[in-house]
């Protein structure tokens, strides 16, 4: 029972944080709301018995990446976002495309039945040991292929930031 209340509370916080992130005028406020969202999502992970994932999520996202965001905002001196002019046609276009997306989703959902009950996971499914088993045994090939992805991204980053040799 208490987990259900907790779920609704966390769901409210994460959706509120997400909406507030894009509605805030001040970029620093946006970042702070985003951190709130990340913490709420970490709480969801805990409810799903994914303890390790929750810890990593807080350290990597709420810690490292958000600090990077704040640094960029401070270095570029963006702490007051000038109210950019939104033209009427821009507003109409975005409203129409968002409405179309909703239309497609409603059209697909029409006549569908609701999803069944999700199977219960065991309590220690999210421990480091079990996660490691899944990552390095069941999903070893995707894990290795991700290295090709990162190598490509690394070569690309070096390529884009390297000085021209003959200019």
């Amino acid at each position: 029972m208490i987990t259900e209340y907790l779920f609704w509370f966390l769901a409210f916080v994460s959706v509120f944080g997400g909406v507030a992130t894009i509605l805030s005028r001040n970029p620093v406020h946006s970042v702070l709301y985003l951190i709130l969202t990340f913490f709420a999502i970490a709480g969801h992970y805990l409810l799903l018995n994914a303890q390790f994932l929750a810890a990593v999520h807080v350290i990597v996202y709420a810690g490292a990446i958000m600090v990077l965001f704040l640094y960029v905002i401070m270095m570029l001196n963006l702490n007051r976002l000038d109210a950019e002019k939104r033209t009427l046609i821009g507003k109409v276009t975005s409203a129409v495309s968002a409405g179309l997306l909703l239309l497609v989703m409603v059209g697909v959902a029409r006549g569908g039945s609701e999803a069944g009950e999700a199977p219960a996971e065991s309590i220690d499914a999210g421990l480091v040991e079990n996660l490691g088993q899944v990552l390095y045994r069941d999903f070893l090939l995707p894990f290795e292929m991700a290295s090709v992805l990162f190598l490509g991204a690394m070569v690309g980053a070096v390529f884009l930031s390297k000085k021209e040799l003959n200019s």
Partner: protein, 458 residues
Amino acid sequence: MKELLISSLLGISVLLFDLLRLRRAILPLVAAGLIALVAVVVVDWGTASNPFGNNMMLMDGYALASIGILALLTLFWFAITSDSYPAQSRRTDLYALVLFSMTGAVVLVSYTNLVMMFLGIEILSIPLYVLVSSDRQNPLSNEAGFKYFFLGAVASAILLFGIALVYGATGTFDFTELGAAVSASTSNLMLKAGIAMMLAGFAFKVSAAPFHFWTPDVYQGSPTTVTAYMSSVVKAGAFLALFRLCTGPFSAVMDGFTDMLAFLAALTLVVSNLMAAVQTNVKRMLAFSSISHAGFLLAGVMTGGETGPGILLYYSLTYGIASITSFAVLHVVSSYQNGAMEYDAFRGLVRRNPFLAGAMTIALLSMAGIPPMAGFMAKYFIISGIISTDMVWLAVLMVLTSVVGMYYYLRVIIAMFTPVENAGRIMLRGLQHYTYILLSLLMIILFFASGFFEVLNF
């Protein structure tokens, strides 16, 4: 497994060769590696294949044929653009990025797990974002890179959301289990929403309308050689991946999405052809023409069935060759005209270099679908496949939009045969003449060899 190893090790060895100051050996290495990839496909052809990596990938007949075609297209791309980049370290990085991106395409045609599929899409896309913005002095190229990166990230997010919903509905990523779970619960709300979002993500990656808005700007802004790669290998890889998904685990519910795909295909055909007809820039026109071919390929995905894979492979190969040739010619022509890419830049090309004019004529006629070229058979297969699935209106629309296509392809051809006064000759270096001749011949030979693809059975 061998195919995957060869393609990913090839990219890494290019980087190593650069480190060891063996820059002259890089192009031969790439050629040898890609030929080895094709050879492995030929040797493995017909042998029973087992899934590997804990059911992550399966090199079945479809995957092998697709890898063969992707390797061939990449080989043609390297052969035809080899002289476009000055011999320096920048070139090595570009080659490595192209090869990494091709590795993503190899993953995309042989996956049997949704995790692998998403990784394949990302391995294909991320080097491309860099390749698109590789002309760093050109603001258009930077803009194209930014647009492609941000929109591509949004599309990946939608695709990933779809995968998450499908996982939530079925509890598995694996194709075999997924197929069973999907056919057991065809009306599951979460499953249908997930598949719709995955299709939307793919529609972006293959640039089908109304998800095509990035394509003209990105194709125009990126260096022409990169555009040639995007419109051939990348497009083929994305479509072959979509086909593997639609005819594999989701085949049980695909009937419910036929209307959606048919609408996407119809809209793609109409919008792209009308937009292409009013362009004044040949590169932008070819970009819209590439979108219109996405409409045909989307219809090919819907055809499915026994002959479906063969038709799709045939279309990917013929369109890939034609688009590599046309973008390569455009690159050479515009580099002799201070980067001008209007129709006028092509005036008198037949006098300036008959090889280029001939190859461009054959490539454009193939894209337009004129009989002695392979493009005619490709369009014919897809239209007859669509008629056999009782969607005559779509087939009629395809024929009508092809007529519009004829108009803007012929404009280039007419410009090439318009005589001009004192135009300088265009010189081609090294093996380039032979590459153009080979590709032109292939576009005609494939017309007569089309029966082989039609009976290709997996």
